[in-house]
């Protein structure tokens, strides 16, 4: 008997295949328009004046000398913002332009619009601002002290959230504790912030082409600041050169729209690399203390932790980042008793918010370093301690939430344990590229020690704590062609590749077109939280399913049968009672459909005071193994190989999944070894790619990836989000591997507890030994 189910592989470009990106050819030929490539006739250029002080009162602003420069059209400040003076993702606490007080170095004060970039720069220099400098609050630990003066009307504490459960008096046979630090990481997307705003001819509205992660959130915030109805503001996705969380908050959107409306001409703004470091939020630096209690067999008894997140001057998503950190403090391990405290505070440092991993990166670095300490204390192998505590589906988290998602943690550990090790061919003078110092003749092969380390993590998917999280998609069929419309921000991740795959497999029609990504359809939510495949994928599938039902009904009416007899097999409509088959492309000739659907995930609830509640939607799991070569004398590290086993539910596009895994691991490796924004008195010391280093192709080792494909019953098409997990536990895996090399070299070595690692963290061990 023939299989009447949907055989996905029989639709060319359907689910489970890896069709090429629809924008790939244009991108390869330089023809794809990124937001920074846009221009318009009669266009002016805008630029932002930023605060040179961490904390200061603005005494006066004199724009007259700047306005006198030929070619300068307008200068706007806080008093020119017609609507709401502030914006923000969760609380509206950040001024469009600082009016009376500046709270971080880089805060916007004014914007200039002029004929060109050069004139803008001269005008910015000519604006006279006098400041009364105020004492700056730079230390997050001081910020939470109630005696510290508030730097913002909303206070210095953005959120406190504890997670308390079980027997707080429980004590383990084995107790390990330490303090951990995570530096401030930058998203470092290559496509700098950029937008082109075009005013309506009558001046009553504006169209803004912008590189963003969430068009409708921008729309709401921008329209409020412009004092325009949302219908008068149209946001169009300009080509986005990466995002990674850094485009979830507004940057130049309001400024560029104000300038366009003020001049009645198209205005473009684009940031330089150094300005970009000031212009978007970063990954929170965090100080974390953790104490793990376990039985002598290594079974977790209790977790205690304290998290301090430096949110910088404005709230952004700090409160949600904190919730992610405290609710993921246990990692992918069972534990019944927990005493976890967390606080996110305001300082006069750079504002922090979303970056890939969103709070879980910080928590995971601490809990994985702890698991290694615990393994050592119990005399167990690093994989064995994790195996003994591995979480499964149905286990209860420290929030009281039951993990209903597929939780293949044991499978991940087994997968990692089976992975072969790379050969030790490298690290000789004949292969200089294989040495930690590269071909620079710095490392002596005799000083190279190999290390192996592991990291595991759990990551929530989608938005949490009762957020009304939904996505909208519209499916039209006309002349046999499917057209999909959604506002899902394509930032490089490839939603525009899988959306047509979903339509092809659901409808059996191979020709799928994509409409413009803009606000002329309902919100898709943000391209963040590993959520778009689930949410916008769910919306596209639901819209296509609705069209499919209408097709079935139409044909059933014509044939006088029950619509339930129909199914789609590949590209054919099948009558399951007669076995008759017709190509779908033929069936829909002359028919037109237009269906729009809002897809929502199941509801979640806010955490209570003790951090209890079903606050998250779903979870994904991953494990990493790092193999490193360490120049034990100089502290130089070469990552030889990264291996990973990732729970993906189902790989809708295996090539895209590989891309997310490899790219995410690169960012985790970067945090482990090189990436940190260094601030001194609130000033960034390294706002360039000369001094803020991200991994190059020479830094990235081969990645060996194994996917666990157990379709998640709650996920549309069974597919879990895959974007964030690769970044999360790759960082502690690399550090654990370096620790292993140090332990191998010296029998034991100081516990590594800070990222990014600095060569001196390794080399000082040598110096200490030499001093013995």
């Amino acid at each position: 008997m023939s299989d009447l189910g949907v055989r996905e592989s029989s639709v060319a470009g359907g689910l489970g295949q890896s069709p090429v990106r629809p924008d790939g050819i244009a991108k390869s030929e330089g023809a794809y328009e990124f937001s920074s490539d846009l221009s318009a006739d009669n266009m002016l250029i805008g630029k932002t004046l930023r605060s040179p002080h961490q904390h200061a009162r603005i005494v006066s602003i004199n724009t007259a000398p700047a306005l006198a420069i030929s070619g300068v059209h307008r200068i706007i400040t806080a008093q020119d913002v017609p609507g709401k003076p502030t914006y923000g993702l969760i609380s509206s606490d950040q001024p469009v332009f600082a009016a009376d007080v500046v709270r971080y170095i880089g805060e916007p004060i004014a914007a200039v619009v002029a004929d060109d970039e050069e004139i803008c720069a001269r005008a910015i220099d000519a604006i006279e601002v006098s400041y009364e400098v105020l004492p700056a609050l730079a230390d997050a630990r001081l910020a939470k002290d109630p005696n510290t003066p508030s730097i913002h009307p909303d206070g210095n504490v953005i959120r406190e959230q504890n997670v308390i459960t079980g027997d707080l008096n429980a004590v383990g046979d084995v107790i390990v504790e330490d303090h951990y630090s995570i530096g401030m990481q930058d998203q470092a997307f290559l496509g700098l912030e950029s937008a082109l705003a075009i005013p309506d001819e009558d001046g009553a509205g504006v169209e803004c082409h912008v590189a963003t992660q969430w068009l409708h959130e921008d729309l709401g915030q921008v329209a409020a600041c412009l004092d325009l109805p949302e219908s008068a503001v149209r946001l169009v996705l300009g080509g986005v050169g990466g995002a990674f969380g850094g485009r979830e908050d507004l940057s130049l959107q309001v400024h560029v729209c104000l300038l366009a409306l003020a001049t009645g001409r198209p205005v473009k703004m684009h940031y330089s690399r150094s300005e970009s470091f000031l212009g978007h939020v970063h990954r929170h630096p965090a100080e974390i203390w953790m104490r793990h209690h376990a039985t002598s067999e290594g079974i977790l008894v209790k977790i205690e932790a304290e998290f301090v997140f430096d949110g910088g001057a404005y709230a952004s998503t700090s409160s949600a980042v904190l919730v992610n950190a405290v609710t993921h403090a246990q990692g992918p391990y069972r534990c019944e008793n927990a005493d976890v405290k967390g606080i996110a505070v305001r300082t006069n440092n750079l504002p922090c918010g979303a970056m890939r991993g969103f709070g879980v990166v910080q928590a995971c670095f601490a809990h994985e370093r702890q698991m290694d300490l615990l393994a050592q204390a119990c005399g167990l192998d690093p994989l064995e301690i994790r195996r003994r505590n591995a979480m499964s589906t149905g286990d209860r988290l420290i929030t009281g939430q039951v993990v209903e998602s597929v939780a293949p943690v044991s499978d991940i550990i087994e997968g990692l344990s089976r992975m072969p090790f790379p050969e030790r061919a490298g690290a000789t003078e004949e292969h200089p590229y294989e040495l930690p110092g590269g071909a620079g003749n710095t490392t002596r092969p005799d000083d190279v020690v190999r290390g192996i380390g592991y990291g595991l993590s759990i990551k929530n998917l989608m938005y949490s704590e009762a957020f009304d999280d939904y996505s909208t998609a519209r499916c039209q069929v006309r002349n046999g062609v499917v057209t999909l419309k959604f506002a899902t921000a394509e930032v490089g991740q490839g939603f525009i590749t899988i959306a047509p795959q979903i339509a092809r497999s659901t409808l059996g029609l191979e020709e799928v077109e994509l409409d413009v990504i803009d606000t002329n359809v309902g919100s898709a939510g943000s391209t963040s939280a590993s959520r778009q495949t689930w949410m916008s994928g769910g919306a596209v599938e639901a819209a296509c399913l609705r069209v499919r039902e209408l097709v079935y009904q139409h044909v059933a009416t014509a044939e006088g049968v029950d619509p339930l007899v129909y199914t789609i097999d590949g590209t054919e409509l099948v009558n399951t009672s007669t076995g008759a088959r017709r190509p779908m492309a033929e069936v829909v000739v002359g028919l037109e459909f237009d269906e729009e659907v809002e897809y929502r995930h199941r509801p979640t609830v806010p955490l209570n005071e003790d951090g209890q509640g079903d606050c998250h939607t779903a979870f994904a799991f991953v494990g990493h193994r790092a193999v490193v070569d360490v120049d034990i004398e100089l502290g130089l590290v070469r990552v030889v190989e990264m291996s990973t086993v990732q729970d993906v539910g189902r790989a809708l596009n295996p090539l895209s999944v590989t891309g997310q895994i490899e790219g995410g691991i690169a960012q985790g490796l970067g945090l482990a070894l090189m990436e940190e924004i260094i601030q001194r008195d609130g000033r960034i010391m390294n706002p360039s790619f000369t001094d803020y280093l991200i991994p190059t192709i020479a830094d990235m080792p081969p990645v060996v990836a194994e996917l666990i494909e157990i379709p998640d019953p709650q996920a549309p098409m069974g597919a879990k989000g895959v974007g964030e997990p690769p970044t999360i536990s790759s960082t502690p895996a690399v550090i654990a591997a370096i620790q292993d090399a140090m332990n191998t070299a010296y029998g034991s070595a100081p516990h590594l507890r800070r990222v990014p690692l600095q060569p001196s963290d390794v080399a000082k061990t040598v110096n200490a030994r030499l001093g013995d």
Partner: protein, 162 residues
């Protein structure tokens, strides 16, 4: 006050064509002139200091960061940008098909660097590929598919030659 709009103009040879460049500031980089004066936006700017390789072009056949080249110094040279490759070269096709492109901002620069590498060295081993492309940053892919794309071209050309 100096008139910053002093009439300055010169000619550049870009993608085989003589192009008039008018009304420029004397210090403009080749990248700025290509993008803002000649409308060739294939070369991208992401760091403005020669660290990221997004602005890579060929200057008399040599791979350069166009953000580091003074446009007015290139009047006697031949400039080739990604637009000048003609489209659908085997390198470009391999990048598309191997998944070497995500956001694509680094792609034109990497295409130029990979094209140049394979002209200089038709069958580079992996470590030479990595060393040659180490001046081109990519934040999305983790580089695995980029290595794969270059190796695919090498394999295809090898088969074609045999």
């Amino acid at each position: 006050m100096t008139n910053i709009h002093d009439e300055r103009h010169f000619e550049l040879t870009v993608n085989g064509e003589r192009r008039q460049v008018v009304d420029v500031y004397p210090g403009e980089s080749l990248l700025t002139v290509l993008r803002d004066r000649l409308g060739l936006t294939g070369a991208k700017g992401a760091c403005e200091e020669g660290e990221c390789g997004s602005c890579s072009v060929l200057l008399d056949g040599n791979l350069v960061c166009s953000c580091l080249v003074l446009a007015a110094s290139a009047t006697q040279s031949s400039v080739v940008t990604v637009e000048g490759l003609g489209g659908a070269t085997d390198v470009q096709t391999a990048f598309v098909e191997c998944g070497a492109i995500q956001c694509g901002f680094c792609t034109p620069g990497l295409i130029m660097a990979a094209t140049n590498l394979l002209e200089r060295s038709p069958e580079p081993p992996t470590d030479e590929i990595r060393e040659a492309l180490a001046g081109n940053l990519c934040r999305c892919t983790g580089y695995g598919r980029i290595v794969e794309a270059v190796q695919t071209v090498i394999a295809q050309r090898g088969q074609g030659a045999s």
